[in-house]
Symmetry: C2
Subunit: 396 residues, 2 copies
Amino acid sequence: MINQKNVELGRKRSSIRELFEYGKKRKAEIGEDKVFDFSIGNPSVPAPAEVQNALKEIITQTDPVFLHGYTSAQGDFSVRKTLADYINLRFKTALTADCLYMTCGAAASLTITMNALLNAGEEIITVAPYFPEYKVFCEHAGGKLVAVESEDGTFQLDLKKIENAINAKTKAVLINSPNNPSGVVYRERDIKKLAELLEKYSEKFGGRIFLISDEPYRELVFDKDVTVPYVMNYYAHSIVCYSYSKSLSLPGERIGYIAVSNKMKEFEEVYAGVCGAGRALGFVCAPNLFQQLVKKVYDKTSDISIYKGNRDRLYSTLTGYGYTVVKPDGAFYLFVKALGGDARAFSERAKNFELLVVAGDDFGCAGYVRVSYCVAPDMIERALPAFKALAESYGK
Amino acid sequence: MINQKNVELGRKRSSIRELFEYGKKRKAEIGEDKVFDFSIGNPSVPAPAEVQNALKEIITQTDPVFLHGYTSAQGDFSVRKTLADYINLRFKTALTADCLYMTCGAAASLTITMNALLNAGEEIITVAPYFPEYKVFCEHAGGKLVAVESEDGTFQLDLKKIENAINAKTKAVLINSPNNPSGVVYRERDIKKLAELLEKYSEKFGGRIFLISDEPYRELVFDKDVTVPYVMNYYAHSIVCYSYSKSLSLPGERIGYIAVSNKMKEFEEVYAGVCGAGRALGFVCAPNLFQQLVKKVYDKTSDISIYKGNRDRLYSTLTGYGYTVVKPDGAFYLFVKALGGDARAFSERAKNFELLVVAGDDFGCAGYVRVSYCVAPDMIERALPAFKALAESYGK
């Protein structure tokens, strides 16, 4: 018998992927434009023009032995230096190149960080709703993911519930803001309180509790008055897991980084753990061409005004139809209360209207569905009558 | 305390990296051209022109949303189909696209395969000399690496020693041919005997023993009469871990694949395990641009005649100076008997002549040093007097 845990993970698609595959089949049956697929978080807005230009320039002007050669495992020094300087400029931190470790995207950032921190049986607390793969990553690293509920009706941090979950086995709290799937940005005052809590219980239990911030959606914030707090400025023992997948529409290229706060006493040890975990998991280095790319376009994003337009159109129309939705500040998801209360039943019924929305149960939050609005605006227009008819079928 | 095993891995550089870093320092001190750095396996021959041309064409002619978007976790179907067809053409196999799983290079191919197969405490047998990271990868996957000696004086498989090492905990035998660091290509007759052995003991112990073939150097073979047997044609329970790092000089871009033989009864389970392990380790998908690249240049290689020239020049000259070397059939390494018998002492003394060669102890083979000849031919010419003087210092 080979490793059955991994066999099972390989056999069982995530419910997101399951629905996405159903959508592909259904489109083949009735036509691409007849199916309204809100299942998957694959950016629909192309990478900005700067990406193509920079790629062409790098490929034609760089010595191929350097360009396609190994970088150090942490990533090319000049790339890390450029990104550290930019973080410092934006967030008034004092990171050096050696605080950064380039990765193959957000998932790699997370698995490496978890493997660096966790000893067998230790726990990571996260806040529901949360990205389902957290559980897979954490368990493979030998840990246990403990999900606590968010504040009722807002999806903000519920500090009391986090406090109740902390115990001597807690190694880290993992947050994701802007949040997948709720789109909520956690409030600064709650991040402050969370930092106090982690300080208090690190002392109480005599073992450091780290704060991991998963930030693939940091740049996808739609309103000027919303800022996403930079966790290192509130808690010294912070690790930021960043990715360019969504901000630059490069999810298939796998490029991101881990930034370890140099304000923490254990910095050298934690960074070494990150290097060791990256090595043991087989990452070697992040793709060099894309390291060189982000060095050039680190401050660019795709045209996120399209996502903002989608959010505004969907939010105002769906609430008008009688759906209950917390208005998302960022990312590209709406987390909609399932009519009738049962999210799986709602998602199934939605299929009758050719609407594909993911039941929130796998996000640790029953009674909601996720609507990914990283789609073409005209699909939203075509889908609205289906959303309306679905609501009416529930007597709205 | 965070995970100390990973901290230690991160703190302790491999001896290869250690020497490479020393070389960089030394070059800064006495001049780039005065240090003869044979420490690292970073291809010195640039990627073939077809790579740059294909990259430019792909970037300018492909829809960026597709090009930079997620592929399925296994890799883009048309990429896998193209590569499977090519393997079938070359090796008379009957693989389908669904036998292949695209990876971020050879290291990822290995960690994913090991995590797919191993249960805690199970063993993988490999043959010394072997690539030192095998141990790191295997232990992280919960297994134990058991290294057996190769045939005395030839570095070929010693089937008696492999047989003696097989027991009820053996999950796989891992071979690497052409071999890093010896350059040896394992003989077809020994692969046949190895297959018989694995068949016999799989039955005897009632648990399947797999054959993992790590093949980053497959295309780097210098003589027409040398062929590298394709293991699937000898043993149904074979898994090939392939990489384009060395053949196309793309080590920093991380692209390769796992091919699971569809002749094995447990195919569906093993492939699912590969998918599950890739997911749990955080790989998501292999970089899409480089997937599309290898679809176009799968049958190209860098100009390996340069490596052949280096091999011939170094082999004939060093043996003339009194060194003992098994002539390598492939890869780009010479494994040279350390004069005086102690490889670490020899490697240290070599530094006095500004020669950087890696002691073989970490390759599980004391008494030898590895000379990486993926270097500029003119550096070899400049280094020859140093090799001569070093030999003379041992009384040769």
